[in-house]
Point group: C2
Chain length 355, copies 2
């Protein structure tokens, strides 16, 4: 696979977003968000989506000059209008507000309407973790999760994320879609020519399928847990919980009214997002030590297969980031290089250079 220097990937995304109409500060912030996903190995949420964001700015679906507005506020809460700004613009504004409130009174709970897609949810939780706080973030998204017993996708992958600091610079990071797998993982199985494990998706006939292409075409993902017999209704319930905290609190669109995200979007998605910060200093002393103890305990558990060590939540991404930084490059598939070339030509910027 072609290798691209981390700085070059960042340069390319920044310039693309600038050419798409974003002010420099917002282009830098949004490029940082996308770069994070590629660095930690979640390629589906990184440069892979760059063109969607550019198109949204060009079509007016996203207003990169938007400045979020606080509509209502208490010491611990805020209701914010994201004004259809870029994901990073709204995320940085809202998480900074949650962090400020958490430092002042222990909790900051910010619910935001009129949001665009904001990349990896965990990126936002980590903003609070870097300030010594517990961070949490949730977003609703396009309808793709089929509730237990139903025929039709009507909830989103509605992710749950949480990050918490541990002593010694360590951390726990939880970041997961409430579907069994994201659609990006289904695409990966198609590319590899491999079937899906049971419990990932339904086919067009609403019956469970292990045919990756059928599942991709149908767009009916099962909730975490899979079918009813393996308690997939729990993933459905978790997705519904995220819906309550996002569209419920913010007054955004509910997921079942959100259009699919596409290259020909015509109206703002008006997503709902939640940014939460919690100050451990308001509770029992020694928080960081206790989290470090848990991390150490989990990592030291005896594995079933000695070649597959037990990981703590967030270790996979941390390890991927270490490898990326040591190598200094990100490996993109050929198809990504081709899309990047086409995008560069279209918006008139210097193409992405592989080494």
């Amino acid at each position: 696979m072609p290798e691209v220097r981390v700085e070059e990937a960042q340069r390319f995304m920044q310039e693309s977003l600038l050419a798409g109409g974003a002010p420099l500060t917002e282009a830098m912030a949004h490029a940082d968000l996308l770069l994070h996903a590629d660095v930690v190995g979640h390629y589906s949420h990184g440069m892979n989506r760059l063109e969607l964001y550019i198109n949204d700015m060009k079509s007016g679906v996203c207003n990169p000059h938007a400045e979020p507005i606080i509509l209502k506020e208490t010491a611990a809460t805020a209701w914010v209008d994201g004004c259809d700004g870029l994901g990073a613009t709204v995320g940085n504004f809202s998480m900074a507000l949650a962090i400020k409130k958490a430092k002042e009174c222990g909790v900051g709970w910010v619910a935001v309407k009129r949001c665009n897609h904001y990349g990896m949810a965990g990126y936002w939780a980590l903003k609070a973790e870097k300030e010594g706080l517990i961070g949490m973030s949730f977003t609703n998204s396009s309808p793709i999760l089929v509730p237990t017993r139903a025929k039709q996708g009507t909830l989103g992958t509605n992710p749950i994320s949480m990050a918490a600091p541990a002593t010694g610079g360590d951390s726990i990071v939880v970041d997961l879609a409430t579907t069994t797998a994201a659609m990006g993982k289904v695409e990966m199985q198609i590319r590899k020519g491999e079937p899906l494990p049971e419990g990932w998706a339904l086919g067009p006939d609403c019956e469970p399928t292990t045919d990756a292409q059928l599942a991709f075409d149908a767009g009916k993902l099962l909730p975490l847990g899979g079918l009813e017999k393996t308690n997939g209704y729990k993933g459905y319930c978790l997705s519904a919980m995220v819906e309550v905290l996002c569209s419920g609190l913010s007054g955004s669109r509910a997921t079942h009214n959100v259009p699919q995200w596409s290259h020909s979007q015509t109206e703002p998605p008006n997503l709902g997002q939640c940014f939460v910060a919690l100050n451990p200093e308001c509770f029992a002393p020694g928080f960081g030590d206790r989290i470090a103890d848990c991390l150490q305990h989990w990592r030291n558990l005896e594995p079933v297969d000695p070649s597959l060590p037990v990981l703590a939540p967030g270790d996979k991404e941390r390890n991927n980031a270490k490898v990326t930084h040591a190598r200094g490059t990100i490996k993109y598939p050929e198809s990504q290089m081709t899309s990047a070339k086409r995008l560069a030509d279209r918006i008139g910027i210097r193409p992405l250079e592989a080494i």
Copy 2:
């Protein structure tokens, strides 16, 4: 199955708890907690556990006269010492505190150490829902969940619960263990003589098993999602998240140091619990209408099997409660009647009467 009038079940549990040493107010509160589980059909968390609570009081593991103490406080947060009180004593104190804070400043986040088992997590979330708030509650528990790739159970079923009010007296209630299934469900499969679905549990050899008896003896439950290939690490991450919010914030024991709950408990479990209330009025107007719209949308989805309608989160329990109240009785298995008889003889109260 023998039928017991709801009032008689309540009378029996109250008298048992009184005889076990609880003051009247606490016996009534704790009986209400257990009765709720039986009324909504989660028998594992109801009278089924009565004798464990009685034994805990008799052995001094639980102090039914305890009064929880606020150790640290801000407008939005509190750190509480549960002082080894009964689950209902600590839960009522802590959720009332969270509700008061949410009404004053939008959020109340209360973390509690030195807790005993507190029944169904959703019961506590519902306390806030009845006040027009979003309620959430989490607890850690005894180690039984095997983290992905590990051989040993080290996290708890660590439940996540949330309840939110909808217009017209309706509500959404999420209440789920972060394992695929609770051990009580494994016992049910043994009684029915049926195998487990794949993805529920490991056997004593740490390999996946569908043998219910083997799984019960081994005590190694898989996280929600099952094995690694069906992304069971997500259930593991959710359980870890609950751990951070419970033992992390409160300074209680981490799950891996909590003893199994048994009839011969010798020391307090020192569990960590979290009680959260969130005031929708601090966010976008029309919260109840939006939740009602989601509930209606989900319930009206076309089902795959017309005889199995799509349920909204909490519908199953609400429907069970309706049936229970209409009938006026709870159906207990013979084994429950036998244990109740033995308990009554032992502590010298009037036996539980079936109709």
